[in-house]
């Protein structure tokens, strides 16, 4: 393929990868602090997108306040979900908690479908619809917003976790919840904070994604899955690793379509990406086992 096409595929992969990264960040934050896999993570992205459309389209709000409000509402819903669905189930098993998050996801999806809309929606792009030329490739300006937002969020999150008191408390809770509570960090407050952060990040993802790609109340399912894969590649531990995982997933998918290799049509891109992922997991588990035996 020509270099222009290579760049096109690469940019396409980085764009979708950035979205996966944002979802994966949310998974990682919650898992690190609470050891829970939040299967409703994709729904927060969906909420960000649909809320921003509804606020702009039906409530007539100007763009910027609508976006900010959407993110705040998504974070609020995350908080409510934690308080009503997760906290009361403290003593439940891992499986039960997973199911609770799935139930919450289904519930949120249903309410959005009933109360907002069941159609696909697309809010206006942030900076127009004329594509930009770059190294011979054509890029939708919204894609640049997506990539840029992902980078910003990652940087801000990293700074937050490393340099602020609250952030450090969050990190401490992730590393050792018992020790943290001994020094006065309330794990339940940290858990709430983790959920709020994760849903806010998800909401941000939705807000930048929706103008790029139409979303419906069911978009959260696939997004959640891909984000889960991204977080898994990243080991569920570090946000930066989740970002790396998301980008890797996006790029692999994109080039799987480009390769168009043999009977594996573009429809197989999801499967190829998953197989790659499974191989990575297996290799990594082998390495972990070796480390355990050596150490």
């Amino acid at each position: 393929m020509s270099s222009a096409q290579f760049v096109q595929y690469l940019i396409s992969g980085i764009t979708s990868g950035s979205v996966y990264a944002l979802v994966g960040l949310g998974f990682t934050i919650i898992y690190a602090v609470t050891k829970i896999i939040n299967f409703a993570q994709g729904e927060f992205v969906m909420l960000g997108g649909l809320l921003s459309f509804t606020l702009i389209h039906s409530a007539g709000l100007p763009a910027v306040p609508a976006l900010i409000l959407s993110i705040i509402i998504a974070a609020a819903i995350g908080a409510v979900m934690y308080l009503l669905a997760i906290r009361p189930a403290q003593k439940a098993s891992v499986v039960s908690l997973i199911i609770i998050t799935i139930g919450a996801a289904i519930f949120i999806r249903g309410i959005v479908g009933q109360e907002l809309t069941k159609s696909f929606v697309r809010p206006p792009s942030f900076s127009g619809e004329e594509s930009i030329s770059f190294l011979g490739a054509h890029i939708d300006p919204q894609a640049l917003w997506i990539i840029g937002t992902m980078v910003m969020v990652t940087i801000i999150l990293h700074l937050f976790l490393t340099y602020t008191m609250v952030g450090k408390a969050l990190k401490a809770c992730a590393i050792n919840p018992v020790a943290s509570s001994l020094v006065g960090i309330n794990p339940r407050t940290m858990a709430l904070l983790a959920f709020v952060l994760a849903s806010a990040v998800g909401g941000i993802g939705g807000v930048v994604l929706a103008p790029f790609t139409p979303m419906s109340y069911q978009s959260g399912v696939m997004l959640g899955l891909k984000g889960f894969v991204a977080a898994a590649i990243g080991g569920f531990r570090s946000p930066v690793a989740a970002v790396f995982g998301g980008l890797l997933l996006g790029i692999v998918e994109s080039f799987a379509v480009a390769a168009n290799w043999g009977p594996f049509t573009s429809a197989y891109k999801d499967a190829i990406a998953l197989v790659v992922l499974l191989l990575i997991l297996l290799v990594r588990s082998g390495k972990l086992a070796e480390e355990e035996r050596a150490g």
Partner: protein
């Protein structure tokens, strides 16, 4: 006198339950729910396998629909496209699915915790994509129709009446065999593994081997259920085996109670009843209610609905006993 009553009560109970189940498909009784009950029976079989896998080995499977679907598609393809006898197709499907589970079992169980969950999820997704994409064999996203019925000699299991008894005969057999397994040495080994893998290893149990065996068993059961499904609907479609299906299977297992075999009937029954019957009446709101019920059941009855009912029953029985001994 009271003692004799007690014994009769047990026999009466057996008789009542058996009678109830036998009478369901009759038009004058609960005939219109025959199809629903057939599905409950089929899903119970998958759920039993999942209960064994998740409850007794502590391994979560977010991709059980892969085995369910393999059984369904292999049976469908063999019987429809290649004209193989449906019984033969069912057996071949079970063997293939079991072999597949055996092959992936060892590498999969090297992963732990969330990585394992991820791997099962990935597996389920990959199989679903294959079902959708290998259109020459599977018919693609639209699936295949024209799959034959099961038959013994000239007796074809075509009416829902006959299919009901076929499915529940299988279901009962599965339940009894699984009950046997739990009570046996294997069951004790499983519980040991569930309690502590390290401890189990130290007393000589080959943990990974057991896990793989149970995985294979759950896969074979899922495959059987899948075969019964296609020979019941004469139709197969990849949408039945997507991620949400695997989730629903886990939900069935958990509602019934992971440690309970008979609870599987309950879990499959309640879930199916909810999604197919009650909620169809509430267009649009059904998934809202479904999600809410899921969350509430998991918060208030984390060991499963079935176990909760047992508890309530026990408490009532104790209270009855106490009253009985008062002068």
């Amino acid at each position: 006198m009271l003692v004799r009553l007690k014994r009769y009560w047990s026999y009466l109970a057996i008789a009542a339950v058996i009678a109830f189940f036998i009478l369901i498909p009759f038009d004058w009784f609960l005939g219109r729910y025959t199809t629903l009950m057939i599905f409950i029976g089929i899903y119970t079989i998958v759920t039993v396998g999942l209960c064994l896998l998740m409850g007794y080995t502590g391994q979560v499977s977010l991709g059980q629909a892969a085995f369910f679907g393999m059984g369904a598609y292999v049976s469908a393809i063999l019987s429809k496209t290649y004209g193989v006898n449906p019984w033969g197709a069912m057996i071949v499907a079970a063997v293939m699915t079991g072999a597949f589970a055996y092959i992936i079992g060892y590498p999969i169980f090297r992963l732990k915790g969330n990585y394992l969950a991820m791997a099962t999820l990935g597996l389920g997704l990959i199989m679903w994509i294959l079902f959708k994409e290998l259109s020459q064999f599977t018919g693609g996203p639209d699936g295949m129709s024209g799959i034959p019925f099961l038959a013994i000699g000239g007796f074809i299991f075509d009416t829902s009446f006959r299919r009901y008894f076929l499915v529940w005969a299988f279901c009962l057999a599965v339940l009894l065999i699984s009950q046997n397994i739990i009570g046996s040495r294997i069951g004790r080994a499983l519980r040991a593994i569930h309690g502590s893998e390290a401890a189990a290893e130290s007393i000589g149990i080959n943990v990974t081997q057991f896990k793989v065996k149970i995985l294979v068993l759950s896969a074979v059961l899922a495959s059987l259920a899948g075969s019964l499904l296609v020979f019941n609907m004469n139709f197969v479609n990849p949408q039945t085996f997507d991620f949400m299906s695997s989730v629903k299977l886990v939900v069935m297992a958990v509602i019934g109670g992971l440690a309970s075999i008979w609870g599987a009937v309950f879990g499959a029954g309640v879930t199916r009843l909810l999604s197919e019957e009650l909620l169809v009446r509430f267009v649009g709101w059904d998934i809202v209610i479904y999600g809410l019920i899921l969350v509430l059941i998991m918060i208030f009855m984390p060991d499963g609905l079935f176990v909760k009912l047992k508890e309530i029953f026990e408490r009532l029985r104790l209270r009855y006993r106490q009253r009985g001994t008062e002068p």
